[in-house]
């Protein structure tokens, strides 16, 4: 079943991007509803997993925008809060890195996740997030610097 085969991948992506478990649950559900609605438009030009991944990213970003967080979080230069956020993944994997990523500002976190974890190019990220390519690069540079610093402590 499509859901069973892909829910782990979709949920992981939602969890890292949204950083909140209940919100990730909602976004995962929204993604599969969207997949169902759009399955007929999938032409097979790319792998199904690639298409599903893109749908997931679009759903998360659209939802962040819809909830009004986008403007607040993505247009203002926020200082990273390295004291409050919790990691998206509470068990297994690289918890130090997960924790550090979770503490990045939303814009830096999303660019880092999309580029360094998920393999998107800056042009794609800029299009998805509505940023200039240079801004995406700047966010990545900043995110990497903060993570290096945090992980070296």
């Amino acid at each position: 079943m499509l859901y069973r085969e892909n829910v782990g991948r979709v949920h992981a992506l939602c969890l890292r991007m949204a950083r909140d478990r209940s919100e990730a649950d909602e976004l995962t559900q929204e993604t599969f509803v969207r997949v169902w609605e759009r399955l007929g438009s999938f032409r097979g030009d790319s792998a199904f997993s690639t298409w599903l991944h893109r749908v997931t990213v679009n759903v998360v970003i659209a939802e962040l925008r819809r909830r009004g967080r986008w403007r607040d979080r993505f247009t203002s230069a926020q200082a990273e809060d390295f004291g409050a956020a919790q990691p998206a993944f509470s068990a297994g994997g690289d918890l130090d890195l997960e924790r550090a990523i979770a503490r990045l500002s939303p814009q830096a976190r999303l660019v880092f996740l999309l580029h360094d974890v998920e393999g998107y190019q800056h042009g794609e990220i800029a299009e998805l997030l509505g940023l200039a390519v240079g801004t995406s690069k700047a966010h990545l540079h900043r995110a990497r610097g903060l993570l290096r610093e945090h992980l070296s402590r």
């Binding site: 079943m1 499509l2 859901y3 069973r4 085969e5 892909n6 829910v7 782990g8 991948r9 949920h11 992981a12 969890l15 478990r21 990730a24 649950d25 995962t28 559900q29 599969f32 509803v33 169902w36 609605e37 399955l39 007929g40 438009s41 999938f42 032409r43 097979g44 792998a47 199904f48 997993s49 998206a88 993944f89 297994g92 994997g93 690289d94 890195l97 997960e98 990523i101 880092f112 580029h115 360094d116 974890v117 393999g119 190019q121 690069k137 990545l140 540079h141 990497r144 610097g145 993570l147 290096r148 992980l151 070296s152």
Partner: protein, 201 residues
Amino acid sequence: MKWWLRWRRTPDLTPEEGAATDALVARARALPREAEPQRDLWLGIRNRIELAQAPDPARARGWRTRVSVPVWAASAAALLVLAASVGTGLWLSRPPSLDDPAAVRALADSLRDRDGMSGMRHNLLELLGERRDQLPPEVVAAVEKNLAEIDRAIAEIHIAFEKNPNNAALQFLLAEAYRREADMLEQLEWWTSTREPEAHS
């Protein structure tokens, strides 16, 4: 050069920072890509799909008003539209395909219990015959019509399957068709077993 190393040697990085960035990106690439949700999300997804797909809410609402038929009526109607789109070739003209053979096999495995499904269907149809008198005639007619149309859709999916046996979307739809049919009949059994005959007159 790996794609993720393209940005490691930005001019303002010292060799140490560059090495640390390489290590950081390698760790990022090694992060787990899967995380199962802590609760089953499928029911919510299914309900939302059914609500979104219901083609004739007025009719479904009318059913519920008259005979308290639950959501399954709208669900079945939604399935019919979807299944009919398969039968008419709407999906076949643009067949989705999965790139993961394991996913295709898993979908095929979900269909293996077809015989068991058929037996249950037979039993429930017998039950429908036995309790026909307890049901309003319009419900009996609607159920029989829906069953016939689902059967027709299933037959058409099977025909499409013969031409494209590895099409995951068809497998998914077929499994869904069987499940919806079983759901409808199970709901019918529950409905007739929990109501007094005079309540339907």
